[in-house]
């Protein structure tokens, strides 16, 4: 893929994520990790090549069918992208609200999840008043709350202390155990070591698979 007329950021990248698998995506800054994730959560369409998500070719997918596919993918954005005018609780509950579920059906689950990521006391706070780590945890909670089939996370442990990093990794592994495929882009080698999962290494726009 490429941005505008620029050079190709990713080329000859070919891999397959099996349902229920756990992968890390590593590589130096600027290697194209975020670009690859953007393709996978359908914020960008590939300039060439084939990307199949849940058996659908996303380059030719009609616009009206994108929402259904996106609901099966949870995303933790590198820059969090929480909605500043909503409370933490509302931010985390957003995917469920978008699915049209009544609030009574998910209120307790969302509170439970917020408590689990350590935001139980910050439910009514708005993102601008949250610390970097708190925002990150809120973003993760939002990505996992609807139990997606695939979780894409861009540096999900970049702003938290190692202790919380491990805790979040446990959340991801628990989610993986329940059937969600997970792809985590990270610089954090300790995290990769600890999880012992397959590592996709991006370098110079090319991908190598280790483990």
């Amino acid at each position: 893929m490429r941005y505008g007329m620029g050079p190709e950021v990713l080329r000859d990248v070919s891999f397959h994520l099996a349902p229920g698998s756990f992968h890390f995506l590593t590589g130096p800054s600027g290697a194209g990790k975020t670009s690859l994730l953007k393709l996978m959560f359908m914020a960008q369409r590939p300039s060439r090549g084939l990307i199949t998500m849940f058996g659908r070719d996303i380059a030719t997918l009609p616009r009206a069918e994108l929402p259904d596919l996106r609901r099966r993918v949870g995303v933790v954005f590198q820059e969090f992208r929480l909605l500043d005018h909503l409370t933490t609780y509302e931010n985390v509950a957003l995917p469920l609200r978008i699915q049209g579920r009544p609030e009574a059906s998910y209120r307790d689950d969302v509170r439970e999840l917020l408590a689990w990521v350590g935001l139980g006391e910050r439910m009514q706070a708005r993102p601008p008043t949250l610390s970097g780590g708190e925002k990150q945890r809120a973003a993760i909670a939002r990505a996992v709350v609807a139990q997606p089939d695939l979780l894409l996370a861009d540096e999900p442990t970049g702003n938290v202390d190692p202790e919380m990093g491990k805790r979040l990794l446990r959340l991801f592994m628990e989610l993986n155990r329940l059937g969600t495929s997970i792809l985590i882009a990270t610089h954090d080698h300790a995290l990769v070591e600890e999880a012992g999962a397959t590592e996709l290494m991006l370098k110079g726009g090319r991908l190598t698979i280790r483990g």
């Binding site: 929402p67 992208r81 909605l83 689950d109 439970e112 689990w116 446990r170």
Partner: protein, 323 residues
Amino acid sequence: MANTPAKPASDDPAVLGEEPPRKGYAAMLSALLVETRSVMPSAGATGLSLVLVIAAMCFLASLALGAALSVSHVTSDWTRDLSGALTIEVKPTNAMTPDEQIRAVLYVLSRSEGVVSAKALGHEDMKALLEPWLGTGNVTDDLPLPHLIDVRIDATSPPDLEALAQAIVAVAPGAQLDTHRQWQDQLMSAARAAEWLAYAVLIVVAATMVAIVTFATRAGLSANREVVEVLHLTGARDRFIAAEVQRHFLHLGFRGGMIGLFLSLTAFLALALQGSNTTMFMVPMSGLRLEYYPALLFVPLAAALVSVLTARITVMRTLHRLL
């Protein structure tokens, strides 16, 4: 998330503002007045100025609607009054005396179908008609005046006026049927013009509101592009986003409409209190007739409807271009 890694749920019931369920009209009213929090940030200061603009538009619309209703009421009154009345003017001739002329005309009238009554105006009646123009005491007995016959006809089954006019001229040369039609036609066309003008104002106001809401919706969407993108990436359909945006505009439209309605009611009441000495387009503007006040309620509802539909259409069209 029922299967989240086990951890005791934080049982903190106080945190969320849960609204008590409302039913029926109360629920509808509260939906119009109380804005539930949208996932789209409300426009804040822009919202207030938009409310004021919509209020001004609705004020104008209410005035125009009130004027249109008043004018149409008055013209229908005129039509009823004037088409029930005819005048026959009997000019003196050498062939017959005025009394003979009048008798002949009254005879023809009495035999015509559709004529309810006919009455020759006596000298006192003529004086009463002329004195406002000539001055008291100036209508002397030797002033040669035409004689007038006031004729009331059945407006539902009027006589054949042309045949009647011919019959009258045949029996009494110098007698002339005046149907008031020319006078009535001119009045009516002036009043109709005023009525159309009022409706034109309504249309212009509605079009302006569509333009303003379209502009505000677009501005709101591009200001909240980031929010829209996050919603899209979280799997929101355009419909969902449109519903959130249009709910916001429902409230803006309805609030603006209510303010405009209130202002126009004040204006009409002030006119009513001031008395009936103001006229506009020959229509006495003594405020609005009581039965037309409910019609004004239509204005804020229309304002809300117009803003909602405009916002929805704009969102759907803009989103298609956006992503």
